[in-house]
Symmetry: C2
């Protein structure tokens, strides 16, 4: 395996565990068993390394997500559960692309929203706008009465639910095991969260 990929793999798992700010280049290069200077040689800076880690996933995920969302729009009796379920297969396909890919990616997404004052939010929304656009279209078709402003809020709430859940999914799976003697996978967590966010987005419009 190339030095570049060893760095990407190590950075990915450490970033997911301890956040971007909380992970040092020395930890990364030590786990990757490469020299410290290799990061700056191959990527230029830590910030560029973060972008590279995220891009590796997004380049794999975003076309699959977009086409899944376009597909689901052909459904004539589209429900919000259908829309959110469209995420399952593309997300789980990350596990083929890389072991534990789903978990790491969603955790990284969560980190990006809270670490580093939202520069990753800017990065994703500007670099991969197609996913968001198609998602909004699908939600609009499934729930046409939802106004633009409510849509804005509820999609952010949903992002929060998913991102937060996934960034602590390991802990949640542990608790589920000890409290309910359930051996769950990340896919079970995803399937659990879908009825929740679908109901949240589909909540009746409040009378203000």
């Amino acid at each position: 395996m190339s030095t570049k990929n060893k760095i990407l793999d190590a950075a990915e798992s450490l970033f997911a565990d301890k956040g971007f700010n909380g992970t040092s280049l020395r930890e990364i290069t030590s786990q990757a068993e490469v020299n410290l200077a290799a990061v700056n040689y191959h990527f230029g800076s830590k910030k560029e390394l973060i972008k590279a880690v995220m891009s590796r996933y997004m380049n794999e995920l975003s076309p699959r997500l977009e086409s899944a969302l376009v597909d689901v729009c052909n459904n004539d009796e589209l429900t919000l559960v259908d829309v959110f379920s469209a995420f399952i297969e593309p997300l789980l396909s990350l596990n083929d692309f890389k072991d534990n890919g789903t978990s790491n990616f969603l955790q990284l997404l969560g980190r990006g929203y809270t670490d580093s004052q939202g520069f990753l939010r800017w990065f994703l929304t500007t670099q991969y706008p197609g996913v968001i656009d198609n998602f909004v279209l699908a939600v609009q078709k499934a729930y046409p009465e939802l106004g633009a402003e409510e849509m804005f809020w509820r999609l952010h709430f949903t992002m929060g639910t998913v991102v937060f859940t996934m960034s602590s999914s390991d802990a949640l799976i542990d608790i589920a095991k000890s409290d309910f003697e359930r051996d769950l996978q990340i896919s079970d967590v995803i399937r659990n969260v879908i009825p929740y966010v679908a109901a949240g987005v589909g909540a009746p419009m409040p009378v203000l």
Copy 2:
């Protein structure tokens, strides 16, 4: 104002803005206009300072929350919206206790769940278990069909929604202003999120 309180106030607003790890003691003491060593003199360590900032809020908030949740359980036709609405008044009362208290507290809560590998989660759940217990009781009364396992998941999803939303509430309010020309407050965000989480927790049980 005492040095101790000057430190607490400065730490609070900086922690809310930039996270616990992202804020240095030098920034805090500089904004508080006190000497750097004063933090370690009065609080012992940065970690203890974080706990002190959170405790100042929780000691104010937790009895009000508990009694509001007990009160709402007297409602014979209790809905989930009622349960979540019980949080509004205690949270907004933090603004009397301190300017911008609600905003700061909820942002701090969000930080605590993502920064510092969840030590704050442990701190809150072990130090203030009464709030959680009463909350679970209220949800059970409003939605008795909800099983213990579903309850567990949905309460965590809700925690995620609220915590994530509030930790990025400033950014969301900014976007709402530029996109919809709305001048919103933190209380508007709270009122917006309630129908969402109530619908999420109240989602029909999935048929597995």
